[in-house]
């Protein structure tokens, strides 16, 4: 307990400083959020047209109204779990400041984790929560729909926390690539697009061909977005819910172990120019 309190005292300032940085550059942040909202609306309109053009009301278990919630909730979820951990590592390797950070008596994993908490807190309070409330309000005043039950929201939040952990660890591992490649920008772009697709952000994974769905079951990406949103929609419940959590926890542990191993390996081959 004492140890925990001590670590909190050491690492919380990192969280605070990220929040301060994000507040300083809030214009850029909110503009990029606005851009994502526009892109979400394109996807929403497309799905809306698909449902008006379809002869059946239910496609792969989704009604038009399910799909609306899915598209906006998956966009909110993706925004909440996203973090810049890979970019931070990449920049520190590029300008060499990582050397100084390795000398300090601070755990690199933990420092980045607490920094990503800053992004999480700021993003949740300023974007995800207001957008979620707007969605709830829109549904209530338009069609009188009530928000999901407390237990569903609770399960969603738990799943979201696992999703965030997986995204953080994946970005950490991805950022370690910068020990091997000098320019990370293009690969990050590539990563972004691919995760967007296979985490189910634009298209619920049940719409994919079976062979692809089966393949994706062996990857962690559905745990980032698809699982939390399906829980929110109450499409995963009962024993399937337990199973979904087990899968998410498995990926958290697996990626944690892998990232520690890779971190040890990568820091051994680190060469900093000059200094």
């Amino acid at each position: 307990m004492k140890y925990l309190a001590k670590s909190l005292k050491i690492y919380l300032p990192f969280t605070k400083s990220i929040i301060q940085i994000m507040m300083t550059y809030r214009l850029n942040f909110f503009v990029s959020v606005f851009g994502s909202i526009l892109k979400t609306f394109v996807i929403y309109y497309l799905w809306k047209a698909v449902f008006t053009n379809s002869t059946s009301h239910v496609l792969n278990g989704f009604t038009a109204s399910d799909m609306l919630i899915y598209i906006f909730m998956s966009s909110i979820t993706a925004g909440t779990v996203s973090n810049n951990t890979d970019q931070v590592i990449g920049e520190e390797v590029k300008d060499g400041s990582i050397a100084m950070n390795l000398i300090k008596p601070i755990n690199y994993h933990l420092r980045l984790l607490f920094e990503s908490f800053g992004e999480l807190i700021y993003g949740t309070l300023c974007v995800s929560l207001p957008l979620w409330l707007a969605l709830i309000a829109y549904r209530f005043f338009n069609i009188g729909e009530l928000p999901p039950s407390f237990s569903t929201i609770g399960a969603y939040i738990l799943s979201l926390i696992f999703g965030f952990s997986i995204m953080f660890l994946f970005n950490f591992i991805f950022g370690l690539l910068s020990f091997y490649v000098t320019n990370l920008w293009g690969i990050r772009q590539l990563k972004h697009v691919i995760i967007n697709l296979i985490s189910g952000q634009m298209i619920p994974l049940v719409f994919f061909p079976i062979w692809l769905q089966n393949g994706l079951a062996f990857l962690p990406f559905s745990s980032i977005n698809y699982i939390p949103v399906m829980i929110y929609l109450n499409k995963i419940n009962g024993t399937a819910l337990i199973r979904a959590f087990v899968i998410q926890v498995f990926w958290v542990i697996f990626l944690l172990v892998f990232s520690i191993w890779l971190w040890k390996k990568a820091t051994k081959r680190l060469t900093i120019l000059g200094g």
Partner: protein, 264 residues
Amino acid sequence: MLKKYVKLYVKFVAQYLKVLMEYRLDFFIGLLGFLVTQGVGIIFIFIIFEQIPSLNGWSFNEILFIYAFSQLPRGLDHLLTDNLWLLSGRIIARGEFDKYLLKPINPLFHLLAERFQPDAIGELIVGVMLIVYSTINIGMSFSFLDILLLLLMIICGAVIYTSIKLFFASLAFWIKNSQSILWVNYSLSDFSKYPISIYGKTVRLIITLVIPFAFTAYFPAAYFVHKEGIYVAIGGTVLASILTFSVAYYTWCKGISVYESAGN
């Protein structure tokens, strides 16, 4: 006069390609990035058409045709005018704009020629391949005149892209950094890849009359698959490109006249 500019442009591009050869891997990663982005867009269309035979009267291949067409003006603009992003972001803010005013060439030409973005070749390749693929599947036949018209439409579309970028980038002359504003408006181009009948009224109004991205893809492409008449589609596109360029160029000139260097 024109000859001088062409010669200069070739020199500028040659310089830039030298830089690029230094960072070959980055170039290929960038190219791959655009190819995959387009690939994902196509997978999306493909999955949608697993569910329905046609989207508001458009077949799979017709949708693919608009999507493909949208890549060409976008790619062409991206290839040639990428420096506008830097104008909006840092050239004015850091007072680096002085150098464009000191040369005996048109400052806009100098700015655009300075940077060449070959990543865009990814967009162009995908666009051309998909246009060929979709036209064969639709069974469209192009006369020589149609091909000329297609090229004209691609150029007009690119001019609209460039003008919209130039307009919002020029705002930096007043507000120093307009990159975020530019980015949001540029994001609206996403709406032009699909038939505009799927959107609500407000969105349609914005992308046709305010920030006319609909003329960079939807309208010209709809003409070729006989979904829009010649006056609206072709006439509208030409008119939109002339109007947007006039507004943008006027704003740019006004901007230069209020430009004050960072000074020290």
